[in-house]
Symmetry: C6
Subunit: 246 residues, 6 copies
């Protein structure tokens, strides 16, 4: 919000527009644009497929946040980026949302592999993010059926009872191996789901990537037109969460 | 007590009422109310079922403390909370009380899963609490039959003999795996008991949750009326501890 | 001694009586009496059985120190306590004495379990003491036949040769598991011996516990009268150590 | 660039030539020339074969950077060196490029072993480089099929989500052994590829090594003439990356 | 030597006699006499057998240093002590000497066990000494045939080559277990040898112990008369080391 | 060189002779002579055989440096020493040279064992040196065929690529055990080679040792005469390294 207000003020406007907020989110999260940090033609093509992979998986999976912007202009350490924003603020995140987020995160890796038969160092941060999410599911949120509702690592949670700290890494090697196996399973399942989405929408992937090479940045509206063009219905807010069972 | 006296003084009263004490407990344990920190409609529903799960399990299991208040108003980092208070101060806590406390702690997790077929990050603190309790049972209080009356980790206990410190984590990997297996067993048994309670009282769960969405906070008296409505007899002090065998 | 002299001086006496010494031992070891820290009726009963368990096992096993006082008045962090004093100062402690000490230490745990079919957090310090003793037997005093006369952990011993320090925890995981198994065996054997004593003297246990609930503190003489009442002969100094074999 | 400008300025030139840049790269990366640090005749021969091994593998494998200079003049701690430069700056590095880089790195080790039936301490830095590359492939870039797209170690990546740090070495012993096995496999495959190249081009290896012993330093043009002489076509920029599949 | 000179000076003598040196060794190694620190009658008997065990094994085994004095007067933390001195200064210690030293060190433990069918905390320092010696044999001096001439732990040795430090505990769990097994074997073999000596000379053991209870301290000459009395020939310098094979 | 110049200057000479250099090497590496630190007759004999063992193995194995001096005069912490100097400075050391160096290092240990049927603490530094060399071969120089060209531990090498540090001890327990097995194999093979040399030249060993006991120090020329006397041809520079295969 601060950054957004500053951006608006610089341009002599007294109201903070959504446009200001998105620019400020980009700046805080990714660092300033680095036009000097140029990609080669080949790297632009790889990056375009990578970002298109993220964006396409995010558009197809039900619980992923919708895409607001895709870009292959270097920012900070990232070659390109895909900006996704939730329809509304969340205090809680569900297991299904985690699983879709991980698949989205692996969308770039999968797109590179499918398109070029090779993988670059580009997805390294995506791998860290998805591994961290998968690990949190298993060790902090009881979201692995095999391990169950046990907290194996602390979060900065509210010490309601305050009785006995479950310090980090107090579990045995056996449990450590079980965690690794569960994390691996979650990651591989998510990769497979990303592969399914991108295989089914191979033409859309190529279409988005090629457009991205041409224009470098695609805003939400233009992106949703591309989706429609390839037969994918853009997300509407009300569809995101299915009704409760009870 | 301090906090309670301050609250009473602020309102010009010279006596500290139980009402002051409960408010002060809430403030010290949970932090101030955060009305600005709003939950979405969906999150309110999830939180209501979560808290109703805690409250219902606490009301049915014999050794759990009775419920004084349920709320889905955000406080500190918690989306909602269920306040339980013992009938009288305790210096000792028994194995059976631990087991019921763990089941109560998992009541929110189980309620979410049963109702929505999904789990959120909401129960993360509950998992830490119940895991810590289960681990203390096994490693500090000799409450696991398999491992027996051995202290595997120190508590801040009175060094009566003072001869030879049993420093933390001096046990082997084999014992570490046994501890993990026992903790896991305790947690899974408790989850099953919570599931049994909430399956049997599914209608009560929905009833409490729905009322909570409407009124946001339910005090003890109103809560007990809801219990009676669903055929559950509220706890009376004298029933809590069965008579000694000897 | 210092504390004892202070106590005597406060009361205008010039001689330090045994009574002063016992009071000073209690104060230094357990902290001051905490009459404000009241136990519930139920907790008083549990504590009475717990302390009676310690005292009875100490009175029956040959190598344990005789009981000087039992109390269920809170002191420091302890709900109650049993004061045992050796007939004379010891520089050496034998394997058989360790084994009886451990059984005495577990007497409270066993009494709770036998009487109430449940265990409380009360024995947590007893478990630490007996585990530490058992571990010292195995790792410092060569008192485990299976592991033999090896020092696996340092004591603050006299470095007679001074050549090569056997630093703490330099043994393998395999030896670590062997230590744990031996400690576990010693503890379980001692628990069984405590169970045998308390099963055989079940009436004495109840008798002592009930008297304790009534009077809160039982001094040595009164305690020995209770023993005699239940057919147990109080210890005499000369019987404690059997004559040498040689 | 700085170093290059300084070198140009020292020689009274106002433009920074490619020649200045290469000299500055050598100086920054390798340290100043150490003509005083003389190799024995035998060591010169070993070093010549070692560098020729690097250069030849780099010239034959498709994704390796082309060779700009080979030298057996001591620089810093290195007995000799082979300078390779990419055709253009890279922000991304692919799996296939890593694999070729590792094979190039092992080219010196393989050349020594093939020629002399012995290995020296000369390749120690090459081994560190290739092991580090192989390990990064497995743990940071998801480039091991067996382990998949998991980040097992952090890079200084952009914390896009910022949720939950996957701290270093949080994996189990089992995963640790899997990493080691994958790293070992990558290294051994690369060694075999280097062996294949140098076996096939044994005469070229001897030819380059012998020339190097005579002239001590071979610049790019002269090196490419040697390649042509032995029937190897020097790399052209456009051939380096095969066209995308999509 | 310093201490010895001080003792001589105090008593107005200008020459340092062997008597001064022995007293100074006792003071530096064991601390001053503590006559106030009295042993019970029972403890005196145990200590006498303990020290007689050390002294007897030292007198029978070929490579052990001869006994200069035995005492059951408390010194520092030790209940009693046996002072042994080599015939001449040693820069080197051999495997056979280590093995005898360890057996001597365990002589007290074995004597207690054989005589009383029980073990006290008395031998704890002996166990540390013999374990440290056994471990040094295995890890520093290549004296375990199974592990061979490998240095598994550093001594403060002269870094002749200075190339590559073999830092402490860099070996695997498997080697750690092998070390433990070898240490255990050495200790158990030495215990058996001490048992053999003391079983064979049971009467001498009782004789020395009983005399020790009566007189508290036995000097070398008196001790050797006791040995002769029981048919044991005291050591002579020239017999200690057998002639070289070569 | 500094030390050598100082020695020459002290003696009023303006040129630094080889004699000065050798004395300075001895002083820097071993510390000053310690004539006061006298060995017993027995220890002198053991030390003589020990040093003769080093010297003889160094004289027979092809890749070991030739012997310049043998001495049994105590220096620093060493009872004796054997000074070897290479024919010329080396920047590279080969696998075969390492293997011979290790065998030379174990020559003293083997000589003691063969001659006296016992081992002393004398070889402890030799064991550290040879273990460190063997470990470096396996973990830093890719000289173990089984483990291959992998760097398992860092040397202070030139960070040519600078990408990703392979930090110390990042390998699994399994690899740790493999390293230990390889190190053990190298050491045992070298010990066997030393045994073969000393068995074959048993008379030479005794001859050198006996001379050493008489004269305490043997310089190069006298040593080579002893070799010739026992039918061993002293090393000549040109024979040390066999011609290259290529």
């Amino acid at each position: 919000m601060n950054e957004g207000a500053i951006l608006a003020a610089r341009e002599g406007r007294t109201k903070v527009a959504q446009y200001d907020l998105i620019r400020s989110i980009e700046k805080v999260m990714l660092g300033p644009e680095r036009r000097s940090h140029l990609l080669s033609v080949k790297e632009k093509e790889i990056t375009a497929y990578h970002e298109a992979g993220h964006a396409l998986v995010a558009s197809v999976l039900v619980y992923a946040d919708p895409v607001h912007k895709i870009s292959i202009i270097s920012r900070g350490r990232a070659a390109g980026y895909t900006l996704k924003l939730p329809f509304e603020d969340r205090k809680l995140q569900s297991r299904k949302e985690f699983l879709d987020d991980i698949a989205v995160s692996l969308g770039g890796y999968v797109a590179e592999q499918m398109t070029f038969g090779d993988i670059t160092t580009g997805p390294s941060n995506d791998l860290q993010v998805s591994t961290a999410l998968a690990r949190d599911m298993v060790t902090k949120y009881g979201m692995s059926e095999k391990i169950g509702p046990i907290a194996l690592e602390t979060t900065a949670g509210m010490p309601l009872y305050g009785k006995g700290a479950w310090s980090e890494k107090e579990y045995s090697e056996r449990v450590s191996a079980e965690i690794d196996a569960e994390v691996s399973k979650i990651i591989n399942d998510a990769m497979k789901r990303a592969q399914d989405v991108l295989t089914k929408h191979k033409k859309a992937l190529a279409g988005i990537a090629k457009r991205l090479v041409e224009v470098e940045t695609i805003e939400r509206e233009a992106f949703e037109q591309l989706l429609v063009l390839h037969g994918i219905v853009p997300k509407k807010k009300e569809e995101v969460l299915p009704p409760a069972v009870a």
